[in-house]
């Protein structure tokens, strides 16, 4: 009888702990974590009008989605330039923009990008799962391994991207 009572208390506890643990681990690890995927295939021109050579995307690259109409892109622009001058490879994905406006924007504010992929309809952006500009992807050897939605801040850079970059640098050596 005492054993039965003991189980009556224990059983719901076990159930609660078990489901709680499973559900919380799903929420943390599966849903919030970016699903790593290969860089989608694309056939686009750069802003200069030449076809983009995908081999230029090998190694460790930041792929930054931007547009001249995007206000937050201008906000993150100085930090992006700082990263670029520190030697990180930043590649632009010009999103739903016109090449004239994009070119003017770069001339006016400076160009932190090695080159910008010109994606006026947002085709590559759609395949990447871009929900709006700005958004930045970390691409290692044509594998998209992490992303930051919205403004790329120092804090996000140091907590989300930098550890993955250091790990990737270690792997590539």
């Amino acid at each position: 009888m005492n054993i039965a009572r003991f189980f009556l208390i224990l059983l719901p506890l076990v159930v609660i702990v078990f489901y709680g643990k499973v559900l919380f681990s799903v929420a943390d690890d599966d849903l919030n974590q970016f699903e790593s995927k290969p860089l989608p295939e694309f056939f686009l021109l750069n802003l200069e009008g030449n076809p983009v050579d995908v081999s230029n995307l090998a190694g460790i690259k930041l792929l930054n989605v931007w547009a001249s109409w995007c206000i937050t892109c201008l906000v993150e622009h100085p930090y992006l330039s700082e990263l670029s001058s520190k030697g990180f490879d930043v590649i632009g994905l010009n999103y739903k923009d016109s090449s004239d406006k994009a070119q003017n924007w770069l001339n006016k504010y400076g160009n932190p990008y090695q080159f910008s992929i010109y994606d006026p309809r947002g085709d590559l952006a759609f395949d990447l799962g871009v929900t709006g500009a700005p958004e930045t992807f970390l691409v290692v050897n044509s594998q998209v391994i992490e992303h930051i939605q919205g403004e790329l801040t120092k804090k996000k850079w140091e907590t989300i991207f930098l550890p993955r970059i250091l790990a990737a640098q270690g792997d590539l050596k």
Partner: protein, 126 residues
């Protein structure tokens, strides 16, 4: 044609042109039903909570256009859902498959309820 009539007809053309962007035309009603069912089951990636059917965010419009196109190409619902979740994550599917770890979400509440009932009746007997 008076000037008034001219501007009135101009207005008609303009409004039809605008409507054309948002109307999805289908050759048969099954496809149309599937389309409206699908867009209510895909989460808007830009919203706090809501389907792309209820959203006019640019990315939701892109998603609706793409789903429309895929249905016309004869893709199945499952193919379209995995097409979307490949790009926007498993999070995008409002009705996740009832298998694997998702099964817990669907069935855990009823399992829990039955366990409680069982315990309740067992206790009464003691």
């Amino acid at each position: 044609m008076s000037i008034q009539n001219f501007f009135l007809s101009l207005l008609l053309f303009v409004s039809f042109g605008l409507l054309g962007e948002f109307i999805y035309e289908f050759s048969d009603t099954t496809k149309e039903k599937r389309f409206y069912n699908l867009i209510s089951e895909v989460r808007c990636p830009k919203c706090t909570s809501g389907s792309i059917a209820s959203s006019d965010a640019p990315v939701s419009r892109d998603l609706k256009d793409r789903i429309y196109q895929l249905i016309r190409e004869g893709k199945s619902d499952q193919e379209i859902k995995s097409y979307v979740s490949d790009r926007f994550g498993a999070f995008s599917d409002y009705s996740p498959p009832k298998e694997g770890v998702h099964a817990l979400l669907w069935f855990a509440p009823s399992v829990f309820l039955w366990l409680l009932l069982l315990i309740f009746f067992m206790r009464r007997r003691f």
